[in-house]
């Protein structure tokens, strides 16, 4: 008898391959005749390339070709889906420092890199717009407003509130820095292109590449079986991968392009810098009367993702009669932006939950109690009920696990030697999104069942999710399932690995595909003349735990397939949300509690411990879930204390390397106690899973900032919270 693996601690099925180095990533493919490309990037912030001297590069040993705006590779202009709004090398405009202005191809990587350094360019330089503060306020994008009857404006609602709080916060650019630097290996065979390139959505990426190269979609196959991190950075296709494919076509041989770590900082999009102001109006007991959320987000002239931090945060979080969200975008001459894990929600909830903490301080209401007094059971703007919301239980369980009752509200009231101790909390939310998705289940005559979906495992555990759900559905051990993702040639309809939507969307598709495959296997068993069940009515044949049974006979599917001489039997199914889903607002929720210490004399901030409790629906794999939630909380430590890449007036990132752009290391990371409520969402799917890849990052920085205030009495509004701001 097989025990269901759902919700248990399951090792990732791709783990052994990864730790032994035998999982091939994009840069690991070495087709016959391979040559190597290296980027040349603009060294001015804005202007025009007047001319380029490529003579030394072309004469350098091993160089095969040098492409520039004056000797371009043809690419079509992008459609709306791309991260950038231009195609590289098609004109001489320089839109930002680090824009690709050349591609050198040589017989080795080192020779290509060496020759790229020999290319020089002359520019006409125009001043760069780089400061969000100087270039703002931006152009309004999405105004969300709801006012109670009789209220003329949000300002009027605020003015009539007994207590008001105004909080402005800012943060610089953030970088995804996926562990695998961007890499592409492009191979043409006749007019058929295979691209090995990390991608969050292999089918969308293949379609984009086809469109930009001007070939039929069917001519492009993208393989990203293993991808070393996505975080949003691998959802569009960037110019570098397109140039690699175009160079392979022009040179009629396979080309590989691997970016250096530093090139990734500028050639690939970052999370936009953003400034926000929250205004809260409340009763003396903390109940909200008005909430205003204004933001100015960076929008590069070169294109990028629109930073809208209020829509999925302040418009959803609390019961408030008057809400106004004004999201503006400021055009700057910076490298492109793109969504980054909890793209708008992490900065947006940092702003809101910082303001809520200030409201708690002002009103003297405990921060947990303040949030319960403003608890929303329905979407405060649109009025839809939440499909399933147990945030109140998250607060209660979290406070108990953490020992919140031991906190003292007065800052600087708890010490340990020269260390000031503080505790803070914040609530988290993130939209749950189910997309239509397809999957294939295939009974094979080697005794395994291949479960496939054209999504991507960017390190999240999608392989294992397919295996666990397939095993559960078919009553087989997890080891009997061969999971497949990361290939655009899999059946159409795989979902992209973004928006925390893969598990939510794909689990129902896998279940449907497994059921359909069982049906097909039974049908095959009664139809095939060599089958021991030939001629029986399908209704009399049943499938149970890998065996076909009827009339007292029981045959495992491997034996059955071999007896019938059929290598495999499969089914592809698509599963989409019910129509009734539109009545509900789907969100994940969570509550973070953390303790920090800040050195009284040096200002060094350290996170002592962290407890987070989440309401994310039904969990497929406890081990993967804990990994995702813990990892995202660690990102929150970076968000609060370390990560920032200021941009200088000449358009240069000040911290575009891993020596200067600091992310948390083990020594910065305390024990993190992650817990989730096991409450399946009854409306999102029969299975009840909501995605959890991003919610851990939402508000974990705010909890740290709030704890730092409790420790020191200092409220840092400009992230990150660094030593010199705490003296």
């Amino acid at each position: 008898m097989t025990v269901s693996p759902i919700g248990r601690e399951i090792d990732r099925v791709d783990g052994p391959l990864k730790v032994t180095g035998s999982a091939p990533y994009a840069a690991d493919y070495r087709p016959e005749g391979l040559v190597y490309a290296y980027l040349v990037q603009a060294t001015v912030g804005r202007g025009t390339v007047r001319g380029m001297d490529v003579s030394r590069a072309e004469a350098a040993p091993g160089v095969i070709a040098v492409f520039t705006p004056f000797h371009p590779l043809p690419l079509k202009s992008p459609s709306g889906e791309s991260g950038e709004n231009y195609s590289a090398l098609q004109d001489t405009a320089v839109r930002f420092r680090g824009q690709i202005i050349g591609l050198v191809v040589a017989d080795t990587f080192e020779r290509a890199r060496d020759a790229a350094a020999l290319v020089s360019a002359d520019y006409t330089v125009t001043p760069s717009r780089t400061s969000l503060a100087d270039a703002g306020p931006g152009v309004p994008q999405g105004l969300v407003q709801k006012l109670a009857p009789g209220v003329s404006s949000i300002d009027a609602a605020l003015a009539s509130s007994p207590v008001t709080i105004t909080t402005s916060v800012s943060q610089h650019a953030h970088h995804h820095i996926a562990m695998e630097p961007h890499a592409t290996t492009a191979v043409w065979v006749d007019d058929q292109l295979t691209v090995y390139c990390g991608a969050q959505s292999p089918q969308r990426a293949a379609a984009t590449i086809a469109a930009r190269l001007g070939v039929e979609p069917a001519k492009v196959r993208l393989i990203c079986r293993y991808t070393g991190g996505g975080f949003g950075q691998r959802s569009p296709v960037w110019n570098e991968a397109l140039l690699c494919a175009a160079a392979a076509r022009a040179l009629r041989r396979p080309v590989k392009l691997v970016l250096s770590r530093e090139q990734v900082f500028t050639a690939i999009g970052h999370r936009a810098a953003v400034r926000q102001t929250i205004r809260l109006g409340a009763e003396a007991d903390g109940r909200l009367r008005a909430l205003s959320h204004d933001s100015d987000g960076e929008l590069p002239a070169a294109g990028g993702w629109q930073m809208m931090p209020g829509r999925d945060t302040s418009a959803v979080a609390y019961r408030t009669p008057n809400i106004r969200i004004d999201q503006r975008l400021v055009t700057l001459d910076t490298p492109p932006t793109w969504s980054m894990r909890a793209p708008a929600e992490a900065p947006g909830m940092f702003a809101l939950e910082t303001a809520m903490d200030e409201l708690a301080v002002r009103t003297g209401v405990d921060p947990v109690e303040l949030r319960l007094r403003n608890y929303a059971t329905e979407d405060p703007v649109e009025g839809h009920p939440f499909s399933s919301k147990y945030l109140d239980e998250c607060y209660r369980v979290g406070a108990e696990r953490f020992g919140w009752s031991r906190r003292t509200a007065l800052p600087r009231s708890q010490t340990d030697g020269d260390w000031l101790i503080g505790m803070g909390m914040a609530s988290a939310l993130y939209p749950a999104w189910r997309q239509p998705a397809s999957a294939r289940a295939r009974f094979r005559d080697d005794g395994r069942v291949a479960v496939a979906s054209a999504t991507s495992d960017v390190g999240t555990g999608a392989f294992t999710m397919l295996a666990v759900v397939g095993a559960d559905e078919l009553g087989l051990p997890v080891s009997s399932i061969a999971a497949e993702v990361g290939d655009s040639a899999l059946p159409p309809g795989g979902v992209g690995a973004y928006g925390s939507s893969v598990t939510t969307s794909t689990v129902p598709a896998v279940q449907a595909a497994c059921r359909a495959a069982v049906k097909a296997l039974v049908q095959s068993a009664v139809d095939n003349p060599r089958s021991p069940f030939a001629g029986l009515a399908p209704a009399t044949v049943r499938y149970r735990q890998g065996r076909i049974e009827a009339n007292g006979r029981s045959v495992d599917f491997r034996t059955l397939l071999r007896t019938m001489g059929v290598p495999h039997v499969e089914a592809v199914s698509t599963s989409a949300p019910d129509k009734s889903a539109s009545q509900y607002k789907f969100h994940c929720f969570g509550a973070h509690f953390c303790e920090v210490r800040v050195h009284r004399l040096t200002g060094e901030p350290r996170v002592n411990r962290f407890t987070s409790v989440f309401d994310v629906g039904r969990v497929v794999n406890a081990k993967a879930a804990r990994g995702q939630l813990t990892g995202a909380i660690i990102w929150g430590i970076g968000h609060a204390l370390l990560e920032a890449d200021p941009i200088e007036p000449d358009g240069r990132f000040a911290a575009a390397s891993m020596a200067d752009y600091l992310v948390p290391v083990h020594a910065d990371t305390p024990e993190i106690d992650v817990h989730w409520l096991d409450r399946p969402d009854p409306h999102i799917s029969e299975f009840g899973a909501r995605g959890l890849g991003e919610i851990g990052l939402v508000s974990s920085a705010a909890a740290i900032g709030n704890a730092v205030f409790n420790a020191t009495g200092i409220r840092v509004h400009d992230l990150p919270i660094t030593i010199d701001k705490l003296l």
């Binding site: 040096t602 370390l642 000040a654 948390p664 290391v665 910065d668 030593i723």
Partner: protein, 295 residues
């Protein structure tokens, strides 16, 4: 670019004499960064990792230690924690385990960055640097070694072959402030050595000036206070005013600038804290460890 791989010190010295522009490389934790960023393109690299003479340490006749320039930080931590306590403390704060497996004190001196983690301790213990060339050997006190930002007295035909460290006659300390808890360039750092034998103290400041610096005034002040109070013989707790003044003098000795890691004002402030802190630890160690040392 030539890649020279001598297998003996004699070969290495003659290679350096023949090609003075060759850049010596040991662990590569500084040189490779510069090459990868295309900050320099030397005509030759002189790989010192196969020179056995550089990879050993031995006791000296006067109880000190001769540390080969190519001994990595990991070995300093595991083999020399007792002999070279201050240097081992500094070595523990360097980079990651992988960096500590590769990086060397010789490389730290060769790069001569003011942010190098070992300089404050080398200054505090009054170490000396052994420089060799085909012309001969000279020994330069580390206090005279640094001449400017990433510059030293090292001649173009010379190699750093060893560091000579006196016997640790008393407690040594090292402390560093970084923007995160590990794998970080120091915002500022401080090394302290107490020398009960001759009644003096040594200091070293990192990341707060164009070169690693001594806090000479602070050394004189503390030496005088310890002598005046006869504290070496009858060690009492140091008064707050002594510790505070010591910290102030250390801060005054620094010449920091504002940069992305921290402001000049923060560095001065933090140095005074580090100086007080390390002095507190070292003096406590002297007072409580004194009996054991006598026994």
């Amino acid at each position: 670019m030539d890649f020279l791989r001598p297998t003996s010190l004699a070969d290495a010295l003659s290679a350096k004499a023949d090609q003075p522009e060759a850049v010596p490389i040991a662990g590569g934790t500084d040189v490779m960064v510069e090459l990868n960023f295309d900050h320099r393109r030397p005509s030759a690299l002189l790989d010192l990792t196969r020179v056995p003479e550089l990879a050993t340490w031995e006791p000296t006749a006067d109880g000190g230690t001769r540390l080969g320039a190519g001994v990595p930080y990991t070995r300093i931590i595991t083999e020399l924690g007792a002999r070279l306590p201050g240097l081992a403390m500094a070595a523990r704060t360097v980079g990651s385990p992988q960096i500590r497996n590769r990086g060397t004190v010789g490389g730290n001196l060769g790069a001569a960055s003011p942010a190098g983690d070992t300089h404050p301790v080398l200054l505090a213990v009054d170490a000396a640097v052994e420089l060799r060339s085909v012309r001969g050997t000279r020994v330069v006190p580390v206090r005279e070694f640094y001449t400017g930002v990433k510059r030293s007295v090292l001649a173009s035909d010379e190699l750093i072959t060893a560091v000579l460290l006196p016997r640790a006659g008393g407690p040594q300390q090292f402390s560093k402030v970084g923007t995160r808890n590990a794998m970080v360039i120091a915002v500022c750092s401080f090394g302290l050595a107490l020398h009960p034998g001759d009644g003096t103290v040594g200091t070293g400041i990192g990341s707060a000036g164009p070169t690693p610096l001594r806090a000479t005034e602070a050394e004189w002040f503390l030496t005088g206070e310890l002598a005046d109070g006869d504290l070496w013989e009858s060690p009492k707790p140091l008064t707050d005013s002594v510790r505070r003044r010591f910290g102030e003098l250390v801060a005054e000795a620094a010449a920091p600038i504002d940069d992305v890691r921290g402001s000049a004002a923060y560095r001065r402030h933090a140095l005074s804290v580090l100086a007080r802190r390390t002095l507190g630890w070292a003096w406590q160690d002297y007072r409580t460890g004194g009996d054991q040392r006598c026994a």
